[in-house]
């Protein structure tokens, strides 16, 4: 710990983004990475909430219909055995996003790039590894290899786009209520709601802990000390979580909780909701019928 003394620097190490310049602090150190990761989650949730409050096609539908309908479309993307249907589903996802006032760059940033990099890296060797006649003479790329790589990438991108559309157009409490009315056990719905709530509390807790430690660092730490620091932060977080669970429980009991969870359901299904559900359910049925 000889290398970590309280900062005597006259320039205060401010909270917020790391400027990492004059102090010579290494950019991309473990603590910075942790902070960036924590910040990204909070940012995702904030912007999802903002998108969900816009007035668009999906935002206007009943949450139960959305959960069932988008679920059916995700299933369709995994069911189909034809690339052109997969392509059409992908176009449908883009059209739904635009009709719901979600810019495509948002989908690209959140889904397409991440999924594309991950699935693309996985699909790339399939071009060469899947046996079959070469597509172009002299090239080791086989026709079936290309098709199977396209399936892998296309399915992952399309399904992820539909899944993200649900969260971007529905506030989390509404998703939970929708699950409740779809007969998901009430305790599970309550736990999901509380988990979501405490994720942000613990994220904040963790970020403050890491930030406080970082503010007391003068220079970069050796990797071993960084490792100890991160493990210590996780350990402190674990103890804090268990304490928090006990306190939350006492607070619930103090407010009359006796093991029964009650939620308020207040949804109304309108004709256009039924229409949307019928359209969404027709897709997997048509695919199954076509393949039978």
């Amino acid at each position: 710990m000889s290398d970590t003394v309280p900062s005597p620097s006259p320039a205060p190490a401010g909270y917020g983004a790391c400027d990492c310049g004059p102090t010579g602090r290494r950019k991309g150190g473990a603590l910075d990475r942790v902070l960036r990761g924590l910040g990204a989650v909070a940012e995702h949730a904030r912007s999802a909430e903002q998108m969900a409050s816009r007035r668009g096609l999906l935002q206007g539908l009943d949450p139960r219909i959305k959960v069932a309908g988008l679920g059916a479309l995700v299933l369709s993307a995994t069911l189909t055995h034809r690339l052109e249907i997969l392509g059409a589903l992908f176009v449908l996802a883009c059209a739904l996003a635009l009709a719901s006032r979600i810019p495509l760059w948002r989908l690209a940033r959140q889904v397409w790039i991440g999924v594309g990099l991950f699935s693309g890296a996985l699909a790339l060797p399939a071009l060469f590894l899947v046996p079959g006649a070469p597509l172009v003479a002299g090239l080791p790329v086989s026709g079936p290899g290309l098709v199977s790589a396209a399936f892998l990438l296309g399915r992952a991108e399309t399904a992820a786009s539909f899944a993200v559309l649900l969260v971007l157009t529905t506030p989390w409490p509404h998703v939970l209520k929708a699950l409740r009315s779809l007969r998901v056990p009430v305790a599970l719905v309550a736990i999901l709601g509380m988990t979501h709530r405490y994720i942000f509390l613990l994220l904040e807790s963790a970020a403050e802990m890491v930030e406080a430690r970082r503010a007391r660092l003068l220079g970069p730490l050796p990797p071993k000390a960084e490792r100890r620091l991160v493990v210590g932060a996780v350990g402190a977080l674990l103890l804090r979580s268990l304490d928090l669970a006990g306190e939350v429980h006492l607070a619930m009991v103090a407010r009359g909780y006796r093991g029964e969870v009650r939620l308020i359901d207040e949804f109304r299904i309108r004709p256009r909701d039924w229409l949307a559900l019928a359209c969404a359910l027709a897709v997997p049925v048509a695919i199954l019928w076509g393949q039978a």
């Binding site: 942790v34 299933l75 399936f151 992820a160 056990p185 309550a190 509380m194 991160v230 350990g235 103890l239």
Partner: protein
């Protein structure tokens, strides 16, 4: 290791959901019976913790970094059943809210990381730790090893799930429709990443956390009855310690056998796979024309004319009591397959029961 949508066929997803369902059922019953009103807040907060832990990027030796899943530490601190509940919830929030891991693949992800992982980690930790003291160095090593091995067992499950796809689901011309790699590629590919970075991250975080808890709050690591804290929060933790002890026995898990039975009944799905699994050829296959064709198609090269000398010699020494998973006196192949799965499953259960009885006796001796 979060499997996205589209990698696994809908049929595989259905089977993995069916396999996970009895575990979820038992987990929910056991957690609510033991914890009563505490269950809801504790599982919610621990799920949130499991989620946040995955955001912690750990610097690893060699200049790389990786994040841990935290399944073994959850099982060590809470016991395996609450860990199943907490990690499954964390995975659900990840899948629905953050799009990390697919919705159709949620069952598979839970099976790998939420069920197999915690149980393997918990069993291995207790096996390696033996009767060592709470503050002993051996516990830290046991936790690190258990973390390392359990994430690799989980990765192996994922690799097998990927690897069976091209065998079971392909277009008429043989083009794979889902994950395209056979077992011989998928399993090593999954394991290479987890034997190195991911496994190391899990080992460092699990071992490190046990070392941290030894200093900060050893009661969380003790078996029940030895220590108890009066604070509300950790009271919950020790309460779960009792569950850990109860879980060490085989009582109260009878419902789980429904799940095991379901898996066994589903085992004829393996019959849908055409031909012999890659690498599972017999000496006789080298002589038969069909066997040679299958080997050539699977390996991309013609097999040698005669069976390798070692294989020929070894196959004379050892003949399995149930060759090809079906005893000779059974004429129905499917029935034989189910029977073989049941006997195989029973043997595994017996081995584990023997190991746990042995561990319990050693603990009493100590």
């Amino acid at each position: 290791m979060h499997i996205p949508d589209g990698y696994l066929s809908p049929q595989t997803c259905a089977v993995t959901y069916a396999a996970a369902l009895p575990f979820w059922y038992v987990a929910s019953r056991r957690v609510s019976a033991l914890m009563q009103t505490r269950a809801v807040p504790l599982i919610a907060v621990v799920s949130a913790f499991c989620f946040v832990v995955m955001m912690f990027n750990l610097p690893l030796p060699g200049g790389t970094s990786g994040h841990a899943v935290g399944m073994t530490i959850a099982a060590i601190v809470l016991g395996p059943w609450p860990a199943v509940a907490a990690i499954s919830i964390a995975l659900l929030v990840q899948a629905v809210f953050f799009g990390d891991g697919g919705l159709t693949a949620y069952g598979a992800n839970c099976l790998n990381m939420g069920i197999v992982g915690p149980f393997a980690g918990w069993a291995l930790y207790h096996l390696f730790a033996g009767s060592s003291g709470v503050a002993s160095r051996r516990r830290v090593v046991a936790a690190a090893l258990a973390g390392y091995l359990s994430i690799n067992v989980a990765a192996l499950c994922a690799g097998v799930e990927f690897g069976v796809q091209p065998m079971l689901f392909h277009a008429a011309d043989g083009t794979p429709l889902y994950a395209p790699y056979p077992l011989s590629v998928a399993v090593p590919a999954m394991l290479i990443g987890h034997l190195t970075f991911a496994g190391l991250a899990e080992a460092v975080i699990t071992g490190g956390l046990v070392a941290y808890l030894q200093r900060a709050d050893p009661t969380l690591l003790t078996s029940p009855g030895r220590g108890s804290r009066t604070e509300a929060g950790t009271e919950a933790g020790t309460e779960f310690g009792k569950d850990t002890a109860a879980g060490a026995g085989w009582r109260g898990t009878r419902r789980l056998w429904a799940g095991v039975g379901a898996l066994m009944v589903l085992s004829p799905l393996g019959l849908l796979a055409a031909g012999t699994a890659w690498g599972e050829w017999r000496a006789a296959d080298f002589a038969s024309r069909a066997g040679r064709d299958a080997m050539a198609a699977a390996s991309g090269a013609a097999p040698p004319q005669a069976p390798p000398a070692g294989l020929a010699r070894l196959s004379e020494i050892w003949t399995a009591p149930m060759p090809d998973y079906a005893p000779a006196f059974l004429h129905s192949e499917i029935f034989g397959y189910i029977l073989s799965a049941m006997v195989g499953g029973g043997l595994i259960v017996l081995v584990f029961a023997g190991l746990s009885a042995l561990a319990a006796r050693r603990r009493i001796d100590a």
